[in-house]
Amino acid sequence: MDFSIVVSDFASLTLDGIVVGAIYALVALGYTLVYGVLRLINFAHSEIFMMGTMTAVFVTSILGFTGYEDPLPLWRFFLVFALIVIASSVVSGGTAVILEIVAYRRLRNMGASRLSSLISAIGASFFLTETFRLLTDSRNLDFPRMISKEPLFQFSSAYVTQDKLLVLAGAALLFYGLNRIINHTRLGLGIRAVSQDERTSVLMGVNVNRVISFTFLIGGVLAGAGSAFYMVFYEVTKSNVGFLIGISAFTAAVLGGIGNIRGALIGSFVLGLFQQYTAAVLGYNWRDVVTFVVLVLVLLVKPTGLFGEALQKARV
């Protein structure tokens, strides 16, 4: 246990923690939005993220990038990256909407138990992971480096690079957009109404099925965009990539109080930072254990997460 690393590398760990947290947040928002309207954990959400990473790799290979080129000029990079983000978002968002129709809608209309929906989602998750495992032959897929990762400048021990700035800026933009949609549109009003009380919102004329479809779409688009940022930062994917990211993002959502959008954001950053610090002290191997232990402790002391309402009794 060497705590001096945290002190000496504090700035570097903090920067990485924030970047990782931003990526978690984009995925965690999908969990929390769906939980808000459906009171269900969307277990296939991690696969929606995985689809996004696959699309990103696919688009770059169509465009003919091999990974051995010199970094693109910035304006061209932005064009290419915008294309990748849009493609990933469309695929992930589309998958999310189809998933809702195939795996959830009928069960919901039947009034089936939550466990049935869970199993149905797990089946869909199996289906997607296995399909892509076979398509990719269980290989790691590399994402070509199109942007220079040379540090722009150094702040204390932290090397600030273009890709990290890109992730942060992109995530901030998406959070702003989400905020606009949730708080300032009719659709967002519908989502908030269904989250509060589905029955009453039906009586008030909200088309619940439509709202739920849109919620899945928004969650999927965020995860898709998140997957594009993930690929720029980590540059490698695999058919099981969704599992670890999904677990972390889900933990973040619970940490912040699942169903609570702001909570998911803050929970993601807290988790991202915490993972970096503990990984530096204990070693990367113990990262997930520490994450879960802290989660357990938080839930025991404050079972609703850091910012949740008093959910745990009402939402059994």
Partner: protein
Amino acid sequence: MADLSRFNLRDRFGDWWDETSPIQRGFTRVFVIALFYALPLINNPVIDTPETSFQSVLFYPLVMFSLMAVGLNVVVGKSGILDLGYVAFFAIGAYTYAMFALKTSLNFWEILPLAMGFAMLAGVILGLPALRLRGDYLAIITLGFGEIVRIVAINTEAIGGAAGLTSIPGPPAFFGHEFTVMDPRPYYWLTLTLLSLVIWGVLRLSHRKPGRAWEAIREDEDVAEFMGVSTLKYKLWAFIIGGAVGGAAGAVYASQIRSIQPEMFTLNLSIMILACVVFGGMGNIWGVILGAVLLGYLPEKLRFLSETRIIFFGLLMVVMMNIRPNGLLPRKKREVVKEKS
């Protein structure tokens, strides 16, 4: 579709069962049990599985999944606690057996209760804090527990680290039946015996006070508490019993497979067992076993689809849930007056 989702074979069978005489029931019991014990003696191409021999498929996954599913059913089906980390108990049982068998001179029969004891202890350690929570929070904590056990096993060199433990001794011979690596049949019979005992025990409990308490908790925890059911106590017992069964399964598995690695105990296995429970029919022991047998058998039988079988399997789960959300053989429904929507 509507008829499909309502048709319940269990009720038909239950009615028939109630009308038969005790002698007929006794004969049926003996016949069914004998049939199951005789299964590995059958060599029929219709039920045979390609690639792995039918006998080894009978041991793992069929009877092993059934045993674990019956254990998990106490937690998920009877008490309504969503446990996503059941594999942890299986892992603890397997590791306890492996460590004691390698380091001490105790034999299988002596370690089996120890393995169950350790799994029960883990159930208490996890359950006491976790069972105060409900629903999804409980689900994520159990999921975390399953992952923690696996990662700790990977990172602890004293129990083999990522490479795991190898050359674990098997059980001693039992009335002339040698437990060898090559022959899975004695293990099948051993596990089947364990399974029968567990089924008997769980059925006894279900008909008595704990069973009623579990059902009350599953239907409405708050009301159960108001009615004087000590909910934490019974939930904890459900957890401990489920854990003990998982631990026993793990010990038997380790003694047969002879070498264990942490990577055998992933979330996928927990999900698989949970799928057996829900697929077969939560809360109904026979449905759960049917689910375990089908979900264990089909992927082995459908090897001709080779690599793609899990894809079809995932699809099957989705379709199945959409047609019969309560599983193949749902538990018997008490008369419920439902408001029409």
